[in-house]
């Protein structure tokens, strides 16, 4: 069991704070199938935490548990020191957890700008009647939000597609827009489900750069699922390895790479 860790400074001068999210003894079943079995780990403030494992290991399920979409049968989740009850994802969102999806989930007919603006909807305070009136307080509020969204567009270098419907964009850019929408929520914890899937080398490099910059500039904690081991080992501070719903290793990239169970899981040793 992890205790509250002391803040530490990494080699590249980033501060990693205490535990932000703790997942304790989680078990998740779908009928007879156990997706996650008795798994515990923590995510510390300001770190980049990778979740890896072979296909079907329960990585996305774990993300869905963290984000409140699935409710585990057993175990507890503590976020920012508060034990969490079963809840809907939008509550997780108001608490500061944002995510992107394995298959891009954007509004295809809307522009990049509108998609990212939609990430601000939880922050909009004026009710629907003010918004229908538009002139006055609602307009003022919208301008404030637009300003914030423009800083994200600048940050992700997507000015040239500001007015392009996202359905027309290549996959790599759609992923970037989705990241932008998640950032628009000003999350404390950002969950990325395979941010590099289907990208070429150059796009992967760009995305890695953005992930590092988000972490450094905004101090956002990042938990990511990724299959590209090179990327995982380069980016992350600590790695959780799942296999068949169970945690088989947890530690720094170097430790994990040496771990015999991890090697077996990836090379496919027969399970008893």
């Amino acid at each position: 069991m992890n205790v509250m860790a002391e803040p530490t400074i990494t080699e590249d001068h980033r501060t990693i704070g205490g535990v932000q999210m703790e997942v304790q003894n989680i078990t998740l079943r779908f009928g007879g199938v156990t997706a996650i079995r008795d798994t515990s780990f923590d995510i510390r403030e300001g770190e980049i935490r990778a979740i890896i494992g072979p296909n079907g290991a329960g990585k996305t399920s774990m993300l869905n548990v963290i984000n409140g979409f699935y409710h585990p049968q057993e175990g507890t989740i503590t976020f920012k020191g508060e034990k969490r009850h079963d809840m809907r994802p939008h509550i997780a969102a108001t608490q500061g957890i944002a995510r992107t999806f394995q298959n891009v989930a954007l509004f295809k007919g809307m522009t990049t700008l509108d998609n990212i603006m939609s990430g601000r909807s939880l922050k909009m305070k004026k009710n629907i009647f003010w918004q229908m009136l538009y002139e006055g307080p609602a307009k003022k509020e919208e301008i404030e939000h637009r300003k914030f969204v423009e800083t994200i567009i600048d940050f992700l270098e997507i000015q040239h597609i500001r007015r392009t419907p996202v359905g027309k964009l290549p996959y790599g850019l759609q992923k970037r827009v989705e990241l932008g929408r998640a950032l628009a929520m000003e999350p404390e914890l950002l969950l990325l489900d395979e941010p590099m899937a289907g990208m070429n080398v150059e796009e992967k490099e760009d995305m890695s750069r953005f992930i590092i910059d988000i972490n450094e500039e905004f101090g956002t904690t990042i938990a990511l699922i990724e299959h590209d081991m090179g990327v995982v080992m380069d980016l992350s501070d600590r790695v959780v390895v799942l296999d068949h719903g169970e945690l088989i290793a947890d530690g720094t990239p170097e430790d994990v790479q040496k771990n015999q169970d991890v090697i077996d899981a990836y090379l496919g040793v027969a399970h008893d």
């Binding site: 637009r146 423009e150 000015q159 040239h160 500001r162 750069r209 500039e217």
Partner: protein
């Protein structure tokens, strides 16, 4: 000696021009930049303050008179100010190409001995740090965009705004009994600077050998800005978009020289990718672009029109045909029939206006193209729309302008008359020489090249061969002087001139013409796979490979037609009528930089090709009808392979010079 251009009192440096602009039209916009989706503007007085604050900070950081300051980044107002701030401190700005690799930058930084570098972002900082072992002189790096740089060692690195703040904070601090304050020091440096001081050093891209640092004085820049602004009647109400590399002399003249001289506003795009969108929003009135930019615009229009509804497509064709017929004449103010004018006016409302608006060129009053030859169709396309597109011929060594086309005397095949203050001379070999107020001082630390290029009377060799048309006084550039040769009968052989004519056909990607020291000219042709492939698809011609398409009889026939048309056009030219192509073949592979046949900038390497394809050249001249070719090719990953084919050689009809004369 060239007529001295007299500059008004107290306006002999760029910082002094800035002060004047702040005084005389302080509230006008000096520059704009799109940031966070909104156009941000700075007035001339704000620009002056920004420059002053930065200059104070730079002095405080230890910038001395005569230091070199490297400026690296995309076009941004802050980097333009950095150049002027350096000048205010009597240091010399050296803008570098922002996309050069670290090694190339290191060479220039070391060569000029830059002590300061003012750069845009992390990308550039990383390159400088990577090369820090090779650039011992570089002491301070100042960056604009702090993103990703927070964790770097900041002992010799500063954010741009911090330097300005440092300058403001320390401006009036007392330094000791006899020592001047920062502000006094800056004022003293600004006042003592004069026209003969170096304004900027621009490194030429250097197709051969190492880049050379062209030293241009304040007088060179300001006198050129003055005469060229007068030539095109530029005024403070004009507007330009700064999107070409800051290290290129043209951008320096347009965005600093002419802008500071006349006081017009320079707008910087949000990012290189948004340039077209930003151009539409700004609507520049004075515009410069290389030919490939204009070609690109036409291609995008053509593709979009193919997808348009039949009615729109028909309207487009109808009115564009009409514009081609009379548009150029209307633009030149020549007499055109009333009915044609009415039709043209209708076309303006329905087609030309909306089209120009979409392209962002509605307000263009003066547009220039230069750098390489532009296809006559492309040139005419814009002119027929009523865009005053003109050609100029220039060089870094001349502070751009050597010749340019006056309004009303615009043609696709000349580069115009000498710019005001420029003298032109053609020597016996046909090489063009010029002398002007803009002629550079020296190549920095390179006496040998300086002496080779510029003689003691100030005449500069261009390295281009050309001639002045007796009837009009316009200069025509034929080719690079070193490529120009003689045919056996003594007439001039200019391969590039012929190749360019061939390349204007969309179906021909590349052409290589032989004939130096021979009786006749022959050519290799490369087809353009996109254009010819598209044509094949439309005409139901099946092909399995590039090689098969290139050898298809119908393709051969099409290329033959093009070659014969080119021959006809060359025959009209007395001096070059000997360069008509008698025989040609279509190559079975594309000429490629990976095989050493082209340079990395896609220029033909004549000697390599002559060596490699010696057997094909022999076949062209010995009268055979086919030739077997077997060539080694290098794939992108470095593996080698061979391609072999039997190529057909065709004779092209040539027009005898006599017959032309009789007509």
């Amino acid at each position: 000696m060239t007529d001295e251009i007299v500059l008004p009192d107290g306006l002999d440096t760029i910082p002094k021009l800035l002060d004047r602009n702040a005084r005389e039209f302080g509230e006008n916009a000096a520059c704009r930049e799109k940031e966070f989706g909104i156009w941000q503007s700075w007035t001339w007085s704000q620009a002056r303050d920004e420059v002053e604050q930065l200059a104070l900070g730079l002095i405080e950081l230890g910038l001395k008179k005569g230091d070199h300051v490297a400026i690296i980044g995309n076009n941004r107002p802050h980097l333009y100010w950095a150049m002027v701030a350096s000048q205010a401190c009597r240091a010399i700005p050296v803008p570098l190409y922002q996309d050069s690799v670290a090694e190339e930058m290191a060479y220039v930084l070391k060569h000029c001995g830059a002590r300061f570098a003012i750069v845009e972002d992390q990308e550039q900082v990383d390159k400088l740090l990577e090369m820090s072992g090779k650039t011992p002189n570089l002491k301070q790096i100042i960056y604009l965009d702090p993103r990703g740089l927070r964790k770097y060692d900041h002992t010799s690195m500063h954010p741009y705004t911090d330097v300005q703040k440092l300058g403001v904070d320390q401006a009036d601090a007392i330094r000791g009994p006899k020592k001047p304050t920062l502000r006094e020091e800056l004022d003293r440096r600004k006042e003592t600077a004069g026209g003969e001081d170096t304004c900027v050093i621009l490194y030429t891209s250097g197709t051969t050998g190492r880049p050379k640092g062209v030293v241009l004085s304040n007088y060179n820049i300001i006198a050129t800005a003055k005469t060229s602004s007068g030539f095109d009647h530029l005024s403070a109400s004009d507007s330009v978009l700064a999107y070409l590399p800051m290290a290129w002399v043209g951008d320096f003249i347009f965005s600093i020289g002419q802008s500071y001289w006349t006081g017009f506003c320079v707008s910087c795009p949000e990012s290189p990718e948004t340039m077209h969108q930003d151009m539409r929003e700004i609507g520049p009135t004075y515009f410069f672009a290389p030919p490939r930019f204009y070609e690109g615009l036409i291609t995008s229009v053509a593709i979009r029109m193919e997808d348009a509804s039949p009615l729109k497509r028909r309207m487009y064709r109808y009115f564009m045909d009409h514009a081609r017929a009379v548009g150029g004449a209307i633009l030149d103010g020549k007499s055109v029939g009333l009915w044609a004018r009415i039709k043209y006016a209708l076309g303006s409302v329905l087609i030309y206006g909306p089209l120009k608006n979409t392209l962002g060129i509605s307000r263009v009053r003066v547009g220039y193209t230069a750098g390489e030859a532009i296809g006559p169709e492309i040139f005419e396309f814009y002119r027929s729309l009523g865009i005053n597109l003109k050609q100029l011929y220039g060089q870094t060594e001349a502070a751009v302008f050597v010749t340019q086309q006056p309004d009303g005397e615009v043609r696709a095949d000349t580069v115009g008359v000498p710019s005001p203050g420029v003298e032109i001379r053609i020597n016996d070999d046909g090489e063009v020489f010029y002398r002007s107020p803009g002629v550079f001082q020296i190549y920095f630390k390179n006496k040998k090249s300086t002496a080779e290029t510029k003689d003691k009377d100030g005449w500069v060799a261009t390295g281009d061969a050309g001639f002045i048309e007796p009837s009009t006084g316009h200069l025509r550039i034929i080719d690079r002087a070193k490529d120009v040769g003689k045919m056996r009968d003594g007439s001039m052989f200019a391969p590039k001139y012929v190749e360019n004519k061939l390349k204007f056909y969309p179906n021909i990607l590349e052409a290589v013409v032989f004939g130096d020291g021979r009786d006749t000219c022959c050519a290799f042709i490369n087809i353009d796979l996109t254009a010819v492939g598209n044509w094949a698809e439309r005409n139901n011609i099946m092909y399995g490979s590039y090689q098969e398409l290139a050898g298809h009889p119908q393709v051969m026939a099409m290329i033959q037609e093009h070659v014969e048309e080119v021959n006809e056009s060359i025959a009209r030219d007395e001096m070059l009528s000997g360069c008509q192509i008698h025989r040609f073949l279509v190559l079975h592979k594309q000429l490629d930089a990976d095989d050493g046949e082209l340079t990395r900038t896609q220029k033909v390497r004549r000697s390599t090709i002559e060596e490699k394809y010696g057997d094909l050249i022999t076949a062209l001249y010995d009268g055979s009808n086919t030739v077997f070719a077997d060539t080694e090719v290098t794939y992108e990953d470095g593996r080698k392979g061979r391609i072999s084919a039997t190529l057909e050689i065709r004779d092209a009809r040539v027009v005898s010079a006599k017959r032309m004369a009789a007509e």
